[in-house]
Subunit: 378 residues, 2 copies
Amino acid sequence: MTGAGDTFSFKVAARDGAARSGRIETPRGEILTPAFMPVGTAGTVKAMLPEHVRATGADIVLGNTYHLMLRPGAERVARLGGLHAFMNWPRPILTDSGGFQVMSLAQLRKLTEEGVAFQSHIDGSKHMLTPERSIEIQCLLGADIQMQLDECPAIPIAEDDARGSMELSLRWAKRSKAAFADFSAQGQALFGIVQGANYERLRRESLDGLMALDLSGYAVGGLAVGEGREEMFRVLEFTTPHMPADRPRYLMGVGKPADIVGAVARGIDMFDCVAPTRSGRHGQAWTRAGPINIKNAAFAEDDAPLDPESACPASRDYSKAYLHHLFRAGEYLGPMLLTWHNLQYYQDLMAGLRAAIASGSLADFIARFTNETGETLV
Amino acid sequence: MTGAGDTFSFKVAARDGAARSGRIETPRGEILTPAFMPVGTAGTVKAMLPEHVRATGADIVLGNTYHLMLRPGAERVARLGGLHAFMNWPRPILTDSGGFQVMSLAQLRKLTEEGVAFQSHIDGSKHMLTPERSIEIQCLLGADIQMQLDECPAIPIAEDDARGSMELSLRWAKRSKAAFADFSAQGQALFGIVQGANYERLRRESLDGLMALDLSGYAVGGLAVGEGREEMFRVLEFTTPHMPADRPRYLMGVGKPADIVGAVARGIDMFDCVAPTRSGRHGQAWTRAGPINIKNAAFAEDDAPLDPESACPASRDYSKAYLHHLFRAGEYLGPMLLTWHNLQYYQDLMAGLRAAIASGSLADFIARFTNETGETLV
């Protein structure tokens, strides 16, 4: 395993405007940044073998605390040797805090200063997720990068409400740090989450409060819930310039390729999103010319693969006509291949961004990307 | 590709009692016998990448004419370069005639001397499957081994009815051979199907009629529809001794591991069955000690893999606890891994049978198999 030491560290290797490329070192291996983390919600990147996730170029995957605490349970995963051994992924894992999924998936949830009480969407069982329990669970799972519990309100939200929520998240960040000191192992890292909706003064206050805690990395939260690309970029533009230059910056739950390209240009280092895996399962394939729906009748006799020049078997070895057939017939292999292809597309995009930043040619990369995909990034 | 010539041939290399081991040569590669053919119904072995099907040791896969003629359509597959290119499987493919699925899956089917008229179970469209059309479809698909259209009645059946059905199948065999002469390409092979239910005299008459057509191989049909292992073995015992020694013998739609072991001992060379793939999708794993249901609570914290000594990643790299979790959570990876494991189990079984026959130790192999699995084969 390259980069294996016993500490967590981050180094910026190159800059191009606000964009940075670099590497995070963890005891379980290095993470080249800007990095895209495939989402492995329930201990598996859906429809993917872990060796193929790695083969696409992924250095790290994300696990969802909410799902794993309910099934199979954090203590059970710990007894089975931790999440890495459980899911046969020896490289770095980032876990979220569970907070976002509790608020979007759980039943009868009740948020208090203490945390969130809720009932499982699986079996109705009652649970309490606090900042301390979230960190304990993430440590039981053995996550290399852990996230504080936060509250993540949707935009638009009134400023007073956004302030109250942000301040709660900040208090939870402090409690998370204390719990992390109790539970964590050598080389694990805790990230804080900047909240404050689309209010510049709130984002600054949130960031200042988190920086006072001297955390290993800082995430920007609350921007993956439908506020739109322009507003997301606007928030990043008044937030990332103030984030510590020597810590990784993680934009949570984002996004589509154009979101990622634009956010990298605004100084973000890490991303996660279900888009490539979820859309792959539903028949959408990302290509250099933008997304296509393989179920469309236009592909029924298209004997060209999605990308004949790709090193990825899923992109190279199967015709669009065959993929079309697999989705029409409801065959497992359709989601398997399109998920794999989409993850390869995303990792190729990240590799392209890293190379462009390293060579000082990000503007050219973005111009080519917007030209090919028809996307706008301003 | 090893064994690539431009003709179809079969050579027996070793015998042990009634059992034989050998090899079939085809223009697309060799098939070591006794062989198990994974079922790729709709142009895909369900939940498997073709390179992993091959990695288990499979030399040949089976495609279902009924499914492929309805979706995506034989002419479409031909325009796309044939079934091998379509499904990214360059090695031999055997296709059935479509008859068995028409009678079990199609709607409003009507059997006449001419063939079977039916409506698609997918979209209700009307079709006519005749011996000639079945061969034409199999040639459009490009199958290396093709099967005559037959009627395949369930046992028990009155002898008069069984005779009428067998004689129809024999007439269809003759028509199939004539169509095969018109449509087939160099190196493709046509197999006849011995019918006659569990009546010795009918099986002999069927076989005699087929042998007069001098076909490339002979299948035993009608034994995969629930008559029981003892009765199946009894039919084989009065049938296989009369089958040509220099042609492959194929027991259609069979079976479970114990069925295969017992049938090999009775002189069968080729098998196909959905058991390993279908049961894998439903959580059943074949092990040396017999089948287990991975969804059983007993496996929730079982950190041992299905077979730590296997070369197959699915058998070796994931704990039973993880597989249990994947099935409980409804994750794609569960069926993917258990299908892979089961196909590896089947191919390992075939390799073991071939080695035992080659070394004259089949009796020892069978004794160990029955001892480990608790199965009886007499």
